[in-house]
Subunit: 174 residues, 2 copies
């Protein structure tokens, strides 16, 4: 028995991005209740040299979009980073989810040993075996930005908990 | 071609925990250089109702220890949360890494469809299929606490970057 590459990636992105969309709903409700301009939240960051919330959300989306694309052997489309409202960020998430669903799971399943080449910064390239790319690059980066987005909002006072972070996971509680 | 359950878990924990140990080295050097009591860092948190750094490190270790144990069908040993220094937290990480290496990778590989039962809080239990438990519970929780530990330190001024977070990953750069 073993995991398929698509099983270890596609539903993980879907669950995480849907959870992030729900967290943004709570951020919107918080801003409304506290009469805070949501742009303040979108510009909040944990450290001056870390991304602000809007960029963390974009980066989470891009890890899913670019990671899944490259595993499927497809050059990912570029999405402009121009979102300035929570509604637009939620639309970015929805667009990413819809795009990822168009990818061929069978191609992703066949990517375990294939070398993936991807941009690292503006001029460099990284090369990793498909399974390593997923386990040691895409998933850690995806969760890094997802957690950072969550932590910025929790640091800002939004009432969210671990269940909001995990999202709709296939669990039975007793 | 497919991933094995052990490949999607054991080296991920090893890489992440070793990265965290390296991040703690940078925290120690930062505290020394700035003449800050390291206990201040260990007690720092991103929000009053989130874990402080020491507990984030313990939780990262426990996700690896407990997650890998349960996938291997072994009841995990309990580690007391009593670390009060960076050296002790690094020892906790080393102990966790050594423990995880004692687990039988073949048992983990056979866990994909097995139901895993695990504690949820003090009185409840969660039940998930092995593959779901890894992909939708253990990995997101592991990365949540790893990222939170990193973010607390970066928020505190420690100079760390994404490479410190990712650790020694199997990548070729060009």
């Amino acid at each position: 028995m073993s995991l398929s590459m698509s099983q270890a990636s596609l539903p993980v992105f879907e669950t995480g991005l849907n959870a992030l969309s729900g967290v943004l709903d709570k951020a919107e409700a918080f801003a409304t209740a506290k009469k805070i301009d949501p742009a303040v939240l979108l510009g909040s960051r944990l450290s001056p040299d870390m991304f602000a919330l809007a960029r963390q959300v974009q980066a989470t989306c891009d890890q899913a979009k670019n990671g899944a694309s490259r595993l499927a052997g497809v050059e990912p489309p570029a999405y402009e980073d121009k979102e300035t409202t929570i509604a637009q960020l939620k639309e970015r998430i929805a667009r990413t989810l819809a795009y990822v669903k168009t990818l061929d799971g069978k191609k992703i399943d066949a990517s375990e040993d294939r070398e993936i080449t991807f941009p690292l910064g503006a001029t460099n390239k990284g090369h990793m075996k498909g399974a390593d790319f997923l386990n040691h690059f895409v998933l850690p980066n995806f969760y890094f930005h997802l957690t950072a987005a969550y932590a910025i909002l929790r640091h800002s006072g939004v009432e969210i908990g671990k269940r909001d972070f995990l999202g709709a996971i296939p669990i039975r509680r007793s």
